[in-house]
Assembly symmetry: C2
Homo-oligomer: 366 residues x 2
C-alpha cells in the first residue's frame, strides 16, 4: 500500500461543493433553472465565445505558460505592472497555490464563519488551522477579522468583498482600513470575484507596492466563463513571483486564455451583463417580496432570500425548489442559513422561481 | 511581508520548461514549425473540435466536478470500474496532486536521470528528495529503478513507458516485472502519456486491484488536446479516492470535458493520427540519415536525433534550427543531451527540417 503523509491521513474525505450534475444524475433529470452556483447565466461576450470556438482548432498546442497576452491586457486595463499579475486556474486554483506558499501545520488563518468553503478546504489541506469570526448583520466584519488575525498571529486573513454567500458589500474606505491595519506577517486575501457587479467605489485603489495584500479576480463571474477556469491575482511582485515555485505552469487552458482576452476587450458587453444582473436581482427581490419575504441587499449576481425561519425551514424550501427543477444553494453557517441563495437568472429562470417559490413555501410550512 | 513556509523559502525559482511563446517574444517572430513540446500537430478529431466549439456557448457553467461523463466513457473503453479513474488538469496536474498525497520533507522518490522535469518539480516542491538512476542505452532501466527504490526506501518510483525525452519503450513483460517487484510502501508511477503511439503489447493489463501502481494517461498527446488540460489516472479505488482530499474539484475546464468525450469516441481518427505520426517519425529518420545521423527508435510522437557529438554541439544545432523558425528541444541530462528532440510534424514542418538541418549541422560544425 502507498504511504500517505500524516497530513493526508488526517484529512476528511469531504468535498467543498457537490455539483448540480451530481444532483441531476441522482434525480434522473436536468434542472430547468441553474441558479445555485453563482454562475452567470448571461454567459460571456459573443466575441469571447467566437474566440474560444476558433481556439479549439489550435488546442493541440499547450497554452503559453506565462499567460503573457492576458496578463499584458490586464496590466493595461488595470494600469498596473505586468509582474504584479499571476493568472491561474480560477480563483480556486490560485487560492490553493497561495495557501501552499504560506500554510503548513501550525499556521493559523482567519476567515468569517460561513465564508468561502473552498478556501477553508485549501487551508485544511495544507495543515492550517481555520479560525473564524461571525458575520454581523449578514456582513463580514472587517474590524473583527483584523483583530482576530492580530490576536492569533494569523498568516492569512480572508475576506470577500462583495461577500459570498450573502452578497453584501463594504465600501472601499472600510476595506482600505483593513488593508492599512493588517498585522505584520499576515497577508490580507481580498477576494473580489464579484467586484464587477458591485457599485463604483467598492474597490480600494490597487497598490502593488503593498506586500501585505493580494487581490483575487476572475473571468468566472461577470465575464461569464466559470467553466473555462481562468482567474488572476494582483499583488506585490515578490509575492507574485513566488507562485512560480508551485503553480502548474502549463495549467491554464489555451481556449480559456483566448476567451479571457476577448472577454476583457468587450467592456460594453460586460456593462450590459451587469445591468441584466441588476434587473435579475431586483426581480428576485420582488418575487420574494410577493411572498412576504425579505432579501439581503446584494452587490453580486445572486440574492440571499431570507426565508424567515430557521435553517431547517430554508432547507425544505430549497429541496422543494430543487424537486421542481430549480437548482439553488444555501449558506452553510448559522444564522445565514435561514436564507436560500439564488442567482440572478434569465427571465425564464425567474419565471420558474416565481411559479415555484410560493409552492415551496407552502410545502415547507406544513 | 508575508511569511512563507520554510519549504517555499528553500525552493529555487526555476520553472520546468520555458514555453515556445517566450522564445517567440524574445525573437520577435513566430516559429514556422512547432516541433519542440511533444505536441501533436495533427490536432484532435474534427468531432472533438466541433464539441469544443459548441461547448464554448455553455462555458458560463462550471464543469462537472466529478467528471462523470468522461470517467464513465473511459471506464467503458478500458473495461475498468468508474471508481478506479480520476480526471485532472493534465498529467502535470495529476502528478502534482499525487505527489502531495505521498511526499513531504524526508521522503525519497526515484526516477531516471533526465526523465520528466515536471515530476521532479512537484517532488521538490513538496520537499521530497529525488534520487536518480541513469538511462542505459537510451532506455530507462526498470531493474535499476526498482532496486534503487528498495535500497533507499522510496515512496514513489517513476517511469514513463514509452519514455520521454528519448522515445524508447519497454515491452509489457518488462513493465509487468516492475509492477510485480515494486517494494512494499512504494508506489510505481507509470506514465503512459505516449502509449497510443506505441506498438500493441506495450501496456501490461490494467489491474486496479493492485494498490502499488498508478497509471497516468492523457488527451494531450495522441488525442491532440495539449492545450485543453485534461488527463486521467488509473489506480486502486482507495488511492483514487484520496485525490478528492487535495484536488481542485472544479478544476477541469468544461470545454475540455466535452472535447475529451468526443475525442475518445472517435477511435478511427486516433488510428489515422497514429499512422500519420509513424510516417512523420520515419521521415525524421530519413532526414537525419541523409546527414549521416542516427535516430533513436521511437514509440512516441517525437524522435531524438543523435547529433553525433556532445551536448554543446547539439545545443548549437538546436539554436540554429530555432533561429530559422523551427522550435525543437533537447534532453537535459548526459549522455541523452547529445540529441535533439523533434516532434513528428506535418509535411510542411518536416520540409523545413529537411531544409534547415543540413545548414544547422554545417553552422554548428564551425
Amino acid at each position: 500500500m502507498p504511504i500517505y503523509t500524516d497530513l493526508i491521513n488526517s484529512l476528511p474525505e469531504t468535498v467543498p461543493f457537490v455539483g448540480p450534475e451530481t444532483d441531476e444524475r441522482a434525480r434522473g433529470r436536468s434542472f430547468a433553472a441553474r441558479l445555485g452556483a453563482n454562475e452567470n447565466v448571461f454567459g460571456p461576450s459573443p466575441f469571447a465565445i467566437q474566440a474560444m470556438a476558433q481556439a479549439a482548432n489550435g488546442v493541440w498546442r499547450y497554452g503559453d505558460p506565462e499567460n503573457f497576452d492576458i496578463r499584458h491586457a490586464l496590466a493595461d486595463h488595470l494600469h498596473i505592472d505586468y509582474n504584479t499579475l499571476v493568472v491561474g486556474e480560477g480563483i480556486d486554483g490560485l487560492l490553493g497555490y497561495l495557501t501552499r506558499l504560506l500554510v503548513e501545520p501550525g499556521v493559523k488563518v482567519v476567515t468569517s464563519l460561513g465564508a468561502y468553503p473552498t478556501f477553508n478546504y485549501h487551508v485544511a489541506g495544507f495543515g492550517g488551522e481555520i479560525i473564524t469570526v461571525p458575520f454581523i448583520d449578514d456582513h463580514e466584519d472587517p474590524v473583527a477579522l483584523i483583530a482576530k488575525a492580530a490576536e492569533v498571529g494569523a498568516r492569512m486573513v480572508y475576506i470577500a468583498n462583495p461577500d459570498n454567500p450573502m452578497g453584501t458589500v463594504h465600501s472601499a474606505d472600510v476595506i482600505q482600513r483593513m488593508i492599512d491595519t493588517v498585522p505584520d506577517g499576515c497577508l490580507l486575501v481580498l477576494d473580489e470575484a464579484y467586484l464587477e457587479f458591485a457599485p463604483e467605489g467598492t474597490a480600494p485603489p490597487l497598490d502593488t507596492d503593498n506586500p501585505n495584500v493580494i487581490r483575487m479576480r476572475t473571468f468566472s463571474k461577470a465575464y461569464g466563463m466559470a467553466g473555462a477556469r481562468i482567474g488572476y491575482a494582483i499583488g506585490a511582485p515578490e509575492l507574485i513571483k513566488n507562485f512560480d515555485k508551485v503553480r502548474n505552469h502549463f495549467g491554464v487552458n489555451r481556449i480559456a486564455q483566448a476567451g479571457a482576452l476577448a472577454a476583457l476587450k468587450d467592456q460594453r458587453y460586460l456593462h450590459e451583463v451587469v445591468s441584466l444582473v441588476a434587473q435579475g436581482r431586483a426581480r428576485i427581490g420582488q418575487i420574494a417580496g410577493d411572498q412576504g419575504l425579505e432579501t439581503i441587499a446584494s452587490a453580486t449576481n445572486f440574492v440571499a432570500i431570507d426565508c424567515g425561519q430557521d435553517a431547517g425551514f430554508a432547507k425544505q424550501v430549497l429541496t422543494h425548489l430543487q424537486d421542481n427543477g430549480i437548482f439553488v444553494r444555501m449558506p452553510f453557517a448559522t444564522p445565514q442559513n435561514r436564507c436560500i441563495r439564488v442567482s440572478a437568472g434569465s427571465k425564464s429562470d425567474l419565471d420558474l422561481l416565481e411559479l415555484y417559490l410560493p409552492l415551496a413555501l407552502e410545502a415547507a410550512d406544513v
